[in-house]
Symmetry: C2
Subunit: 562 residues, 2 copies
């Protein structure tokens, strides 16, 4: 019998033969080898084969190396979905660097913060964001050079950075070996939208992205003949790892730089699209347009919906135009989707719509790649699977980020008890499917973007004459939720909703700016905490007709408490 010690010795002795690091860069190597002449990427009127795409990636990587980018050094990107952004994910990593894809909807302040916090040495940005960059340039402490991607619809003269195409053209397209020695090395730092204050940089590793991409592929049932339409921004968790997954099976990336229904429908047909991802509003936008124009997809499109549960209306609309929607759930901290509402065709296909919607509204179960998800009480004990006891969703395993970059305290807090705490409250149904019952109280999800109510509250609090403020979500057919502010003004001081909204718009990203402002006293608990559940419930009641919309509900309460 071999001893444990001897077995350990064997593992070590032969490891160079039986182990190679998991990295999604290998997917590019494979598709370059297997599908050199097959179409890899489409963007507007440009089309690239896998060989051409790989060559461009190598050119970018060689160029970055020549400019001094070294192992583990960060290179950030701000761009809409296009071939250059996709190439950047691969090129930066092939150079040994770490990509930092930024949400172009962040405020200038947050962009500057993320660039400095990640210590990015270079920034690859699309021309339309040049003004943003110019505005913050003086605050950037680590950036050494800029590369500027053309925006097709704009005059791109007098670029701020090195033109992207010129940068590629003067670099060698000599293939590079995958530079990854340790699969737990950083692949990417993806910043959250700062829902609890400053953006945090989630460190995604090569192993994590590889495995998450595998999970997505199995769930999406993708293969070499699939075509993936980029309705989801690539900056969101590397496009929920589809940046990597689509490449792994040699499917086709169909890039899309804005959610325009007409263009989407054209691409769906023209490129024989089979898959897409997005927030509910993306699906609604497509469905509305198609309904209006009497259109229907020829083949079923498998769509992953994230960010919010699909309503029966969403599902009905999607089915009417020929889509098959599956809900997925996750966060930036877990590479995007971590659970899937795995469908049971044999039992559920023939149920009535309302019932199917109810089932599809659940966040479900882990992917086939299998990492751990559970719903726990405050002592980390699993809640009963009774469909009613709420707890917090916690996760652990290969699909959890490595840490919040350079934030030990925040990481320790998020990882307390050895699990990542999602901040999402959920119940577990008797069949083990989890369902989110509430967002962490301060998060508003509007059009697929997360908004921290605290951040908005802080801005409004600075408005002259504001005594108190609460920012909450309000259910909305189109956006899922909208940002709503309840503002308590000093006695004798008048303000208009318009003035508050303008104030916010000047200081926040557009999606964070409240769409509605109401004046009145903010209900607070004995310990002084805002009772957001009271406000939220009132919004739901109003929508449901429990209270007439015409009665200003907080005025009376304000008097009562004033």
């Amino acid at each position: 019998m071999l001893s444990e010690k001897e077995l350990a010795w064997v593992k070590e002795r032969y490891s160079s033969v039986y182990l190679n690091p998991l990295t999604p860069l290998s997917f590019l190597k494979r598709s370059e080898l297997v599908f050199p002449k097959k179409t890899a990427v489409i963007y507007r009127d440009r089309s690239f084969t896998w060989k051409a795409f790989a060559n461009r990636v190598y050119s970018l990587a060689n160029g970055l190396k020549n400019k001094g980018i070294q192992k583990h050094e960060r290179v950030a990107m701000i761009s809409r979905n296009n071939n250059a952004l996709l190439e950047s994910f691969y090129g930066i990593s092939m150079a040994g660097g770490v990509s930092v894809p930024l949400n172009y909807r962040l405020s200038d302040k947050d962009v500057a913060y993320a660039l400095n916090h990640s210590e990015s040495k270079a920034l690859i940005f699309e021309h339309i964001y040049a003004e943003t960059i110019k505005g913050i340039q003086k605050d950037l402490r680590t950036l050494e050079f800029f590369i500027e991607i053309d925006s097709p619809e704009e005059n791109n003269g007098a670029p701020l950075g090195i033109p992207y195409e010129a940068f590629l053209n003067k670099s060698s397209s000599q293939p590079l070996d995958i530079p990854v020695m340790d699969e737990n090395d950083m692949l990417s730092i993806v910043y959250t939208s700062g829902t609890t204050g400053l953006p945090k940089g989630c460190v995604h590793t090569h192993r994590g992205a590889y495995l998450n991409a595998m999970g997505e592929l199995l769930a999406a049932r993708m293969h070499a003949e699939s075509a993936y339409l980029w309705t989801l921004p690539m900056f969101h968790c590397q496009g929920w790892c589809f940046v990597w997954g689509v490449t792994a099976v040699g499917a086709k990336h169909v890039c899309l730089d804005a959610v325009r229904a007409e263009q989407i429908c054209q691409l769906m047909t023209q490129e024989k699209v089979t898959h897409m991802c997005g927030a509910p509003i993306v699906y609604t936008t497509i469905a509305d347009y198609m309904e209006k124009n009497g259109l229907h997809f020829e083949n079923t499109i498998r769509g992953f919906m994230g960010g919010a549960a699909p309503s029966p209306v969403n599902i009905q609309k999607a089915e009417n135009i020929g889509m098959d929607i599956h809900q997925v759930y996750g966060l930036t901290e877990v590479y995007g989707p971590h659970t899937l509402c795995e469908w049971h065709s044999e039992d559920w296909d023939d149920l009535p719509l309302a019932k199917r919607a109810q089932l599809k509204a659940r966040q479900g179960v882990p992917y086939a790649t299998y990492t751990l998800v559970k719903v726990v009480d405050e002592d980390m004990n699993e809640v009963p699977w009774d469909g009613q006891t709420p707890g917090e969703i916690v996760m652990k395993g290969n699909n959890v980020m490595q840490w919040y970059f350079n934030e030990y305290d925040k990481t320790d807090e998020a990882f307390r008890g050895g699990w990542f705490h999602s901040g999402d409250a959920a119940i577990v149904h008797p069949d083990g499917y989890i369902e989110i019952t509430d967002r962490l109280k301060d998060i508003i999800v509007t059009g697929g973007e997360n908004v921290s109510s605290v951040e908005v509250e802080n801005i409004i609090a600075e408005f002259p004459g504001v005594v108190d403020v609460a920012v909450i979500s309000k259910p909305d057919e189109k956006w899922g939720e909208i940002v709503k502010a309840v503002v308590h003004m000093e006695a004798g001081i008048e303000a208009t909703a318009e003035a508050i909204i303008k104030w916010c718009r000047e200081r926040l990203a557009g999606f964070k700016t409240p769409k509605e402002v109401e004046f009145g006293v903010v209900p607070r608990s004995a310990t002084g905490k805002i009772q957001k559940h009271v406000l939220k419930q009132r919004e739901k009641d109003l929508l449901a007709g429990v209270r007439p919309l015409t009665s200003p509900p907080l005025a009376g309460e304000a008097r009562g408490r004033g």
Copy 2:
């Protein structure tokens, strides 16, 4: 900038949250959770849901633990494909043990060797192999107990071991946690057929099997609605890892204990089979039967073919009955298939049959999971991709075994230069697809089983009066290849082919016994090596009609050299 040292510290600090060991046991956990009521396994008239299957696995595991099986201890199995064998793969590993699935076609001697060499403490065997076990029982040095699976078609009275069902019934089905702490721990030891002498035990790890299963799933395009027919023996590399993969996506295992065309066709329809694997002869058997009975599959069956390249006839036959065949290539040392002839629908679907067959006959490219494969000369330099320069296929990475169990010298030899040496000679086409040009000279592949010509030669050499002997493959429509012996007898001593064949049958597994014996002088090189290429070429020429079959070709040569 964080230092390398600090980054290493971060990796370590948070590893318990962002890492969990890759193991195919997680697939069972997931399907048990997600698909408890869905059919998991079918065998003859029995059917098990995922929950029922999991419970049986836990019962087996708890029972094995109660009987003293501890971490890393080996438990062997000899059984045809059935639910109990499938349960054993999972149950042994859930108990912390290591499964040793034995090829039931091995000779008694080799079975005893593998049981002793693996130091197996228990053996789970099917009743029909009881006589084999009894015959070798006195030679078994480490076995402590036997568990006996009923054979449905036999009288199973007076079992040699504990009856399998009774063993399960008296054990607790209490779920167990996955006992794997290190993904590089042994999952299984799979013995080769001893093509170069004694069987060698290939150590498959949890990580390797997990990743290989992922690769199979993506290549097979399997999902929860798929049904996999077990035409391939599960003992072959854990059924090319489909033992794990089918479970990962919650598809259905349809067990089959013998390749009987009529039953296969019934199951295909009855269980809505979508996938299968096997050697060419399995496909031919099915196709012949269906052709004769005018049958055609309703849905396309995606079939992986291994062990030999499909001929145009194979492909034509398979297409005629509604199958879509893909060639895969691998060895026990690489968990079964390691490359796939990835198909290019867009370019190749409409080619004429002969051209398609030529393309499909290639062993292809690595799976999407991507491990390294190349063809090298004797100095380990890659051969040019010219479609004509031969070299040896070498492999490396996650899909290569950890080592030959307890065989340092043999492992070092197989891993020389840091790569696993397949022993298969191949060329690389200009598109990077590899194609095997020759087996290592001593291997004969008959009906999907490997036969070492050296082993057979050694047996024949012991026959009274034999001077020299060469054992070669002979191309065969039905078996792919058959074993043929060329025997040189002492002057004046007569022997018949029948006597030689009988001699071999008493000493070798049936599939290793020559089907043809010819008498004559064996051609040898100057250094005394048998010139098998001469003999093989002659067989091909004979088949192609270059020399008349009636002329005994070696007799003349024998005289010339004698």
